[in-house]
Symmetry: C2
Subunit: 299 residues, 2 copies
C-alpha cells in the first residue's frame, strides 16, 4: 500500500499478472446483528469475514478492505472503538489491510465493506460439468444453530451453548477457511461459491449457472458438532439447518472426481438440467425452495 486512510483514496500496488477480485457486502444492525446477541467487536469481525469469504470463494487471496460506516446519532464512542477493534482483530487474523473508509450519520449502524483480493486463476459459479462431485470445505449449520439457541435463550438452550461454545462463536465470530478457495482453485475446481444462504439454494445456483443437473445427498452433508442436538431442541430437522440456514462460511465446490480425494463430497453434478434434487431417507425431493433470500425473506 502506498497511501492509506486519510487521503481522498487509498493507493495500492497490484501484484503483476494477477487478476483483481472485488466484492462488497453490507451488514445492518437489527437485520444481520443485534446488541442482544453479540458485541460490537463481533459485528466488526463479521463484516470483515463475510467479505473475505466472498473473495476466497473466487479462488483469490483477500488483501485489502475499505469500510463505509453509518452511525446513528448518540452512538457512544466506546461502541465505535469496539467495532473498530473487532475489524482490526479480523483483519489481523485474515491478513488483510483496512486501507480506507467513510463515516456518515444514518438511522442504523451499518457496515458496508468492500474487499479486494488477487488471484492467478479464478473459479466462477458456472464451470461445473456433469460427473463433477459436489464438496463442501467444512461442516454446515453451526451458525444457524448458534443463532437459534441464542434467540431461544432458555435454560436448555444455554446448556447446549455451554456444551458447544463453537455454535455461538460461529454466529458471532465466523472463521472462514480462506486458504481453501485458492487451494481448490489450484487443484482444479470447476465451480465454487460461498454457501451464504444454505447448501440447497447454493448448490442449485452452481447447477443453474453451470447448466447441469445436481443431486445433493442429505446423508452425506457434514454437520458441525452440536447441530443435531440444537436442531432437536429447536424442533427442526438438522439437515434443514445445513441446507437452509444462514451464515455457513463454507465453500461449495465442484470437483472432477480425480481431484476430490479427501474432500467432504455430498453430491454430484449430472447431465439433466431438469433434475436438481435432494436424496433423502424419504426418497428424492426437489432442491428448490429451501434457500434463503435475504431480500425476499426480510432479513
Amino acid at each position: 500500500m502506498r497511501v492509506g486512510v486519510g487521503d481522498d483514496a487509498a493507493v495500492l500496488v497490484p501484484t503483476p499478472g494477477r487478476l483483481l477480485v472485488v466484492t462488497t457486502d453490507v451488514i445492518v444492525e437489527g437485520h444481520h446483528f443485534t446488541a442482544a446477541l453479540s458485541a460490537p467487536a463481533d459485528w466488526g469481525w463479521k463484516a470483515v469475514a463475510v467479505n473475505c469469504s466472498d473473495v476466497a470463494a473466487m479462488g483469490a487471496v483477500p488483501r485489502w478492505l475499505v469500510l463505509a460506516l453509518t452511525v446513528p446519532e448518540g452512538t457512544p464512542l466506546a461502541r465505535l472503538d469496539e467495532l473498530y477493534a473487532g475489524i482490526g482483530e479480523a483483519s489481523g487474523s485474515f491478513a488483510v489491510d483496512l486501507v480506507g473508509g467513510d463515516v456518515s450519520r444514518g438511522p442504523a449502524l451499518s457496515l458496508a465493506i468492500t474487499a479486494l483480493g488477487e488471484a492467478e486463476r479464478v473459479v466462477t459459479r458456472s464451470g461445473a460439468r456433469p460427473g463433477d462431485l459436489l464438496a463442501v470445505t467444512g461442516p454446515l449449520g453451526a451458525a444457524a444453530a448458534g443463532l437459534g439457541l441464542l434467540q431461544r435463550d432458555d435454560d436448555a438452550a444455554r446448556r447446549l451453548l455451554g456444551r458447544f461454545p463453537a455454535l455461538a462463536a460461529a454466529h458471532r465470530r465466523p472463521c472462514p477457511d480462506l486458504d481453501a478457495g485458492p487451494r481448490l482453485a489450484r487443484a482444479g475446481a470447476t465451480a465454487m461459491l460461498d454457501v451464504s444462504d444454505g447448501l440447497a439454494g447454493d448448490a442449485l445456483h452452481l447447477a443453474e449457472e453451470s447448466e447441469t443437473g445436481i443431486e445433493v445427498d442429505d446423508r452425506a452433508v457434514p454437520l458441525a458438532p452440536g447441530v443435531r442436538e440444537a436442531a432437536e431442541l429447536l424442533g427442526m430437522d438438522p439437515v434443514e439447518l445445513a441446507l437452509g440456514g444462514v451464515e455457513h462460511f463454507v465453500l461449495a465446490v465442484a470437483l472432477p472426481p480425480e481431484v476430490a480425494a479427501g474432500q467432504a463430497v455430498c453430491g454430484r453434478f449430472t447431465r439433466d438440467p431438469e433434475r436438481r434434487v435432494r436424496l433423502t431417507a424419504q426418497g428424492e425431493l426437489p432442491l428448490a425452495g429451501m434457500g434463503f433470500d435475504h431480500f425476499r425473506a426480510g432479513c
Copy 2:
C-alpha cells in the same frame, strides 16, 4: 472485466504497471439527499459522482464501481429502478463500470459505493511546497447555493432557480471534471484533494498535510454564476458559500508557479506553518473554523 454482477465477486484485469486507487463513500437518505429536493435517479447519480471525484482527486482515472445498498421495507420497486437508472446514467457519463453489489434491508435508503481507478502517478495531499500556488479546477458554491434555494423554496428562490438552473443541477447531478485530476497530475501538481467541505477547510488540509503555511485570497476565489445572487437572497456572504459550503466537486491543487498558467489561482503555499489565513477585504482572517465536518455537524 472478466466476471461481473452475480458471482461471489467481480474479477477485473488491472492495467500492467498502474497503481490501483480505491475509495468508498456512503450517502444516506435524510442526510445527503431527500425526496423533497431531488429524485431517486439523482441520488444514484450523486453516489457515483462523489466516488469518481475522489478517485480523480488522486490523479487517477476511475474505472470500476461496486454498490452496497440498504433499502427500507416497502420501498416501491419503481424507486429502485429509478435509482439504478441514475447510477447507469452517471456510469455512462463518467465511463465507469458497475461490476458488483449487495442489497440489504435497512431503516433508510443508503448507497455505499466503492470506486476503483488506475493511475500512472498519484498526487496525495501532502506534497505542496512553499512557493506553490493554490488553484481550483472550477468555480465554487453552485451546489451549496442550489441546495439553499431549494430548501428556501419561496417565490424569490424559485425565480433565481429558474434564472440559474445550473444551481439546482449542481446539487442534484454534480458533474466533476474527472479529466482535471489526471491532467494536473501529469502537469506536475504537488498536492491535490477533492473540495468536499468548503475550500477553507480543504486548503487547510493541504497545508497541514504538507506542513506549509497558506494564504487563500478571497477575492480570487472563482464563484459559479448565480452564487452571488443566491447568497444575497439567503442573507449570506457569497465567499462563505465557496469557502464553507458543501459539495463543490472541484479539485484544490498545489501547482509550482511554472505550471500554473491558465489555472484558477486563488492562493499560495508559504513557509510558515503557523500562518494559514484568508486575505479578505477586511484584512487577514484565520482559515480554521470555516470547514464543514460531516460527522460533527450532523449531516
